[in-house]
């Protein structure tokens, strides 16, 4: 292995919501790093802080403390334009994350226009094709697409600015099993094609084990266990909580 610097390096990240006496620390001093081309999974129950970690990485939350280093540069709480280009996020619910009154072409060019990089209309066809959708979908509205198709549009939008890191927040939990398989395959193909780095948050250990090289188990704002791919297949866990989670998923 060539010792390359990690794509994502997080040191002592903590996030609190609220002020003064009612403040609640949701993420407590977590540190982790992800190598280039690796997929890191974070699992945990609702409210354990896994999505909050992802939002801090994406730059959506600005009240974190600690150090976040993306692709070799320390990022600020308020991101500069160049830092914003590094990451993109795909959200859980494709019904909520696409503007209902914008055509797909406008949805897809929005990041380019927001970044002041021109209009981007010429990039729409290629963007649709790379996620396996027909070019004619550019003129449709989100309600004319199925859930799986919408999630493909959301993935295409995340790829518009050619980020190196994609943050996936439960990308398939709103989808059917059969459609979930298609979207997971698409994500795997895109990763191989473009050497992307993924951070995948999910509560479904099956999905996590399928996609990820390494898994962190989160509980109450801290990581309680780290599992390798081999650990997952052989059912090895190092902590009571992760064992419980594992057994519940293997039902």
């Amino acid at each position: 292995m060539i010792p390359t610097p990690p794509m994502i390096d997080v040191q002592e990240l903590s996030v609190s919501f609220g002020n003064g006496a009612s403040a609640r620390q949701v993420v407590k001093n977590v540190s982790f790093s992800v190598a280039k081309g690796e997929t890191l999974g974070i699992v945990g129950e609702s409210g354990c802080g896994k999505s909050t970690v992802l939002r801090s990485l994406a730059g959506l939350d600005r009240h974190w403390n600690g150090r976040i280093n993306l692709a070799g540069t320390d990022v600020d709480k308020v991101r500069t334009r160049d830092q914003m280009l590094l990451t993109q996020m795909v959200f859980q619910d494709p019904y909520g994350s696409l503007h209902p009154r914008h055509r797909i072409s406008r949805v897809l060019t929005e990041p380019i226009r927001a970044m002041g990089l021109g209009k981007g209309w010429d990039k729409v066809d290629a963007a649709l094709q790379q996620v396996g959708l027909p070019v004619s979908f550019a003129d449709r509205f989100p309600h004319q697409l199925s859930g799986g198709q919408r999630q493909r549009v959301a993935i295409a939008r995340a790829l518009m600015l050619q980020p190196q890191i994609i943050l996936l927040d439960e990308p398939t939990s709103a989808l059917d099993v059969s459609v979930q398989a298609e979207v997971l395959n698409l994500l795997a193909d895109l990763k191989d094609e473009r050497q992307l780095t993924y951070v995948l948050v999910s509560h479904d250990l099956g999905v996590i084990a399928h996609m990820c090289d390494r898994v962190l188990v989160m509980k109450g704002g801290v990581f309680v266990d780290a599992l390798s791919r081999e650990d997952l297949y052989e059912g090895r866990t190092h902590n009571d909580y992760s064992r419980m989670l594992f057994e519940a998923s293997a039902l």
Partner: protein, 282 residues
């Protein structure tokens, strides 16, 4: 003529549901029997599994019409029963547990009052006795600190707890048949098992029949004695275990799920042309 089967809870023969003037029925010629057992119904979204459950409860929207050669529940022909009689059956002899407790519980009533209301409606009891029954039932679904919980409103409790409250409410009148429509989909993985076990325990105790509707074929297979697989409104197979699966649709559904113990590089996706060749639909 054979003697009527006393164990039979529900008989459906050629049950179909149509919406409006649509050419293709949402549920088409579904026939099955339910005894005191656990029957699972699986399929993708849009396969008609929830519509089937609602047709049995006679809870279809006004635009939907159900028809059947026979739909008997406990000796009663459901399709010709009046709405007034249906209201007596629902929640009493037959119960429906829905996906998300946040939407199926009344947000402006405390938990205790809602559960007691179920007792008052369906059992000939006084108000004090109804609260006592509610307390007992909440204890049965393993809710800790009952007195405090009974005063809480639905938004103050967790999803898993909410679903247990729903189960308590629905099983209080000891129904003969329980239809659970995706009862664990909105819950965390860690509490899913508990909720299912609890549901099973209470249904067995009452010697009732359970219909579990879900898209998760492995979960259904682990939990149910028989699995009915639906595709585009029709039943394609009834299985007792996943190994028997013959139909490409059922096999596709099984293969599409990532398995912790059998890793693959690429997941199989449904071969819809092969399925449509076997199951022609207009």
């Amino acid at each position: 003529m054979p003697a009527p089967d006393q164990d039979l809870i529900l008989t459906a023969r050629n049950l179909s549901v149509r919406f409006g003037r649509l050419a293709r029925p949402a549920v088409e010629n579904v026939s099955f029997d339910l005894r005191a057992e656990r029957l699972g119904i699986v399929g993708e979204s849009g396969s008609g599994k929830s519509t089937l459950g609602r047709a049995i409860m006679r809870l279809l929207p006004s635009i939907g019409r159900a028809s059947a050669d026979e739909l008997m529940f406990d000796g009663m022909p459901l399709l010709s029963t009046t709405e007034k009689q249906m209201r007596k059956l629902r929640g009493n002899r037959m119960a429906l547990i829905m996906q998300d407790p946040r939407y199926s519980l009344n947000p402006v009533l405390p938990i205790g009052k809602q559960v007691a209301e179920a007792a008052l409606l369906h059992l000939p009891v006084s108000k004090a006795k109804a609260y006592e029954l509610a307390r007992g039932m909440l204890e049965r679904v393993r809710i800790a600190d009952i007195e405090r919980t009974m005063k809480l409103y639905p938004h103050q409790i967790s999803g898993g707890m909410g679903q247990r409250v729903m189960i308590a409410m629905m099983l209080l009148a000891k129904p003969r048949m329980v239809i659970a429509d995706e009862p664990t989909s909105a819950l965390d993985v860690s509490v899913r098992g508990d909720v299912l076990k609890l549901l099973d325990e209470l249904v067995r105790e009452n010697d009732a029949g359970l219909i579990l509707i879900s898209h998760d074929i492995r979960m259904v297979a682990a939990f149910c004695e028989r699995i009915m697989v639906m595709y585009k409104g029709r039943v394609v197979e009834i299985l007792t275990s996943l190994d028997e699966a013959q139909h490409p649709y059922t096999r596709g559904l099984i293969a599409a799920m990532p398995d912790l113990h059998a890793p693959v590089h690429r997941l199989k996706i449904l071969d819809r042309t092969a399925i449509d060749a076997l199951e022609p639909r207009p």
